[in-house]
Structure formats: C-alpha cells, structure tokens
C-alpha cells in the first residue's frame, strides 16, 4: 500500500466521521483483522464509507466495501472515493452465470481481505430493514468458516437521504454485533432471517 493511499484513507475516514457524527459501538464483539463479512442495513449512499471508517485502521486497511458499480463510477469524485476506500464494485446491470457476484467477491477476498456487504440490495427507506438477498448465504456456504458480523447503521439516512446530494451533518451511530456462522444444515431462508434479526436486534441494544 502506497504512502499516499494510506494518507488519503486516513483523511477520508476522518472526514466521514466528522460529517456523519458517527459514534461506534461494539456490542458483545471485538474488532479483529481475521477475515470477516460485515453485513449492514442499507439506508444511504454514505453507508459503505461510514462503516468502513468506523473500523480501526489496521482492520480498515484489510476491508473492502462492496458497492454498486453504476453509482461509484459516475464522475471523478466518486471514482476517486471508491478507489480510496478500496471498494469492490459490482455490476448490478449485467450479472452473468459464470461471473456471479458471489464468485467475484470470494476471488477478490482471497485469504486476506474482509468485505462489507449490504444484503438488502437497494437502499431501504430507512425506517425498517428489508428482506435480505441470498448472496450472503452463498458466501457462507462456499466459505463456511467465514465469520459474518451484523452491523446496524442508525440515522445515516437523515444525513444523506435517497436522491439528495447535499448532506446534513446530524449524528449517527454504527453498531457492530457478535460474529455468527452458517450452522450445518441451516436452510437459506433460516439463515437469512437469523442474519436480518441480528441486525434488527442491534438497533435495540
């Protein structure tokens, strides 16, 4: 990692923390550099940057948010930001059979990187948490020893709501929950429901 990248990453995460006023909580959980998949509710375009910034520096350098390609390649600012926080851009418009997003994610993770994913797919209105798509389940099925960590993002939808480009600097909160694993014999639906409930539980915690 070049020195320049380390500096811009530090600046970007500091700016994200100041703008989103985010406080970070680890609920029954500890930051760790082991390979993990953080999955969070999706309420704002800032989600990826804010969750990434909430991680300690050593963890952050090994963590790549998964983000939508069509949004993050538009304009040089977004392209620069996506490069700085080392985003793994997924093409939502053409998903091919042999190039499925899950395979791409596993390949890019290797045995080094962790990922931040938003299993709801699109952003929810910010009130509730939508149903999870199955990608998280297939990630765990192919790599059963992967720790998946629920993350709840609170109030960020008011900082930068859908369709707005000017942020309002309110205070938000990012909560990390205890790691979970895919149980042997657990069905897709059971696992996705359990994962979604883990995120919802962090809202109350």
């Amino acid at each position: 990692m070049t020195r320049q990248l380390v500096i811009s990453q530090g600046l970007l995460s500091a700016a994200a923390k100041i703008l989103s006023g985010s406080s970070v909580r680890w609920v029954d959980s500890q930051p760790d550099v082991c390979q993990r998949v953080y999955f969070a509710n999706h309420t704002s375009h800032l989600d990826a940057i804010v969750v990434w910034s909430a991680l300690p520096r050593e963890v952050r350098q090994l963590t790549r948010p998964v983000a939508a390609k069509d949004y993050w390649i538009r304009g040089w600012v977004r392209r620069y930001l996506a490069r700085t926080f080392n985003a793994l851009l997924i093409d939502r418009t053409e998903i091919k059979v042999h190039q499925s997003p899950v395979d791409l994610m596993l390949r890019e993770m290797g045995d080094k990187y962790s990922l931040i994913v938003f299993p709801e797919g699109g952003r929810s209105s910010g009130e509730g948490v939508g149903e999870f798509k199955s990608g998280l389940y297939y990630l765990c099925k192919k790599r059963p020893h992967l720790e998946v960590v629920p993350v709840h993002i609170d109030n960020l939808n008011r900082v930068l709501p859908r369709g707005e480009f000017l942020p309002v600097p309110l205070l938000s909160c990012v909560s990390f929950g205890p790691p979970m694993w895919l149980e042997s014999g657990e069905s897709k639906q059971e696992f996705l429901t359990r994962a979604r409930e883990a995120v919802l539980k962090l809202k109350e915690a």
């Binding site: 008011r158 707005e164 000017l166 309002v168 600097p169 309110l170 205070l171």
Partner: protein, 313 residues
C-alpha cells in the same frame, strides 16, 4: 487586569473544591450517596473544567477566536437537537441551509458587531425561509410542527447562544476592555446557578415544580439556589461593571433563565423519551445538556446589560 485574575482565582478555587469533593465521594462509597449521582457530579465537574479553560482561552485570544468557538458549540448543539427531533425527507433541504448558511452567518454577523443584523437574521429571515423551503419541498404532513421544530432548534442552539459572545462587543462606558471579563462572569454565574439549584434540590427539595417534566427540580431548589447564587454573585461584584445591587439583580435574572432553560429542554427530552442528549448517541458528550441554561440566559443577560450600561447611564 486585576479583576480578571481575581475572578480566575475564585473560579479555580471553586473548581478545585468541587473536584476534591467529587473525588472524596468517589473514594468513600459508604457515605450512602448514590454512586450514579456521584458519577453525574464528577461528569459535571469535568465539563466545568472544559468550559472554564475555554473561557480562559477567550481572555488570552482575540475576540474572533471566542466567537468561532461559540459558533462550533452552536453547530454541535444544533446537531444534537435535530438528531433528537424526528424530521421528514421534505425537511432535508431547509436543514441544509440552516446548518451551512444561517448558523455560520449568525456568528459572522456577531463577529462583525452588526447588532441590527444579527438580532433579526434568525427570528425574521430564517423563520420565514424555513417553512417556505419545507412547503416548496412538497410535503405538507404535520407542516407547522415540522417547521416549528427546526425553528426552535435554530433559535435556542444558535440565536440564543450567539448572544454570549455578543457580550464581547458591548461598550462599557469608562471601563473599556472589560467585556471579556463580563462574558467570563456570565458563564461562571450560569454554571453556579445551575449547580446551586441542583445542590438545594438534592438537600432540601420537597415540592416539585413539574414532576412529570423534571423529577429533580423543586421550588426549594430554585429559591434556595437563587438566594445563595445572589449572595455569591453580589460578593463578586468587583469583577463586573455593575454595582453590588445590580449584580445581585442580574444573578437573580440568570437564575430564573437557567431554570427556564433546564425545564424547557427536559420537556423536549421527556417528550422524545431520552434522559440526556448525550446518551442519545453513545459516546458523544451531550453538549446541549451542558449549555441549555446558557442558551436561555444569554439574550436576556445581554439586553439587560446593554440597557443598564448604555441607556441608564
């Protein structure tokens, strides 16, 4: 510089006593006092140290630095206020202008000593702008309520607080350059009134003012706190441009406004079901909890001082 150092000495002495009491209470847990209350007290003492070092800095640095610092406090308090208040998507654009135009502009005008502008910018122009912008955004649900929420946040956190650094520009006849000391005196007295009211509440409180709004504030606390604050304030008259009698009256005014600020903010907090603005988002200090009484007292103290010092003499 005589009175300045005198006041700083008094304040340092009081802070040292408060810190010592807090540490002693923490050490001797068998005193029978609720440990949570001791922790709250110690948190308050820490906030006082911060506030007083800030004011100490204000004495040394040029006025523009002090104005900027108060501007940053306003910005943070407004963040806490609006975070606590539910707003809708349709309020987003007006909130943007509130944060990035009206808040900085108010402090720029205060820094430029433009009284005739900063005294009306928010209560006239911002108050007309906010509902208009919300209406243009096209969402009419609970329209008045939403506009009022943003307006009150801006009024309390920005407009009212900006009158504290505005004290710096008051012209005190035959005592020029005393305004820094006046600001120092004001903030210290607000904190003292708060602390004394709480002490009296805890020791002698029987009759609650409004138990549903605040479970701690009592008439005994208010009267006893105001009385002892007036004694202390009068004893400090040498640090102010006022006569002893005037200083006592000013302290009484501050005490009433401190109560008003505390009660108003706890009503808002009760309505939203939180105890402190600080616990609303964990890890943040709860700036609004510390400055609610300053916000309410500042404009009243400013106008009373202006009237006493420039109109009556």
């Amino acid at each position: 510089m005589g009175p300045t150092w005198g006041l700083i000495g008094v304040v340092l002495g009081l802070l040292a006593v408060a810190t010592a009491v807090g540490q002693l209470l923490k050490r001797y847990t068998e005193s029978g006092i609720n440990p949570a209350a001791v922790e709250t007290f110690n948190a308050r003492v820490r906030a006082w140290w911060m506030l007083c070092s800030l004011l100490g800095a204000a004495v040394v640095f040029p006025n523009s630095v002090t104005v900027t610092l108060f501007g940053l406090i306003s910005f943070w308090a407004l963040r806490e206020f609006i975070t606590l208040t539910p707003t809708r998507l349709g309020d987003h654009r007006s909130l943007f202008w509130v944060f990035f135009l009206f808040t900085p502009l108010q402090y720029v005008l205060v820094g430029m000593h433009l009284y005739e502008w900063y005294s009306i910018l928010i209560p006239v122009y911002a108050f007309l702008f906010i509902p208009a912008r919300v209406a243009i955004a096209g969402d009419y649900k609970r329209f008045l309520e939403r506009a009022a929420k943003i307006q009150s946040g801006l009024l309390v956190c920005v407009y009212c607080l900006s009158f504290a650094p505005a004290l710096l520009e008051l012209e005190i006849p035959d005592k020029p350059g005393q305004t820094k000391l006046l600001l120092f005196f004001f903030v210290v007295m607000v904190q003292l009134c708060d602390a004394l009211q709480h002490t009296w509440d805890g020791l002698f409180g029987r009759h609650h003012i409004a138990p549903a709004v605040s479970s701690s504030r009592t008439w005994e606390g208010f009267l006893g706190g105001s009385g002892s604050a007036m004694l202390l304030g009068t004893a400090l008259y040498w640090a102010t441009p006022f006569s002893p009698l005037e200083t006592g009256a000013m302290t009484a005014l501050i005490s009433v406004m401190a109560l008003a600020g505390g009660m108003t903010m706890s009503a808002i907090k009760r309505d939203r079901g939180v105890k402190d603005y600080g616990t609303l988002v964990q890890g943040h200090g709860g700036v609004l909890d510390r400055i609610d009484s300053i916000c309410f007292a500042a404009p009243v103290f400013f106008h009373a001082t202006r009237y006493l010092l420039t109109e009556l003499r």
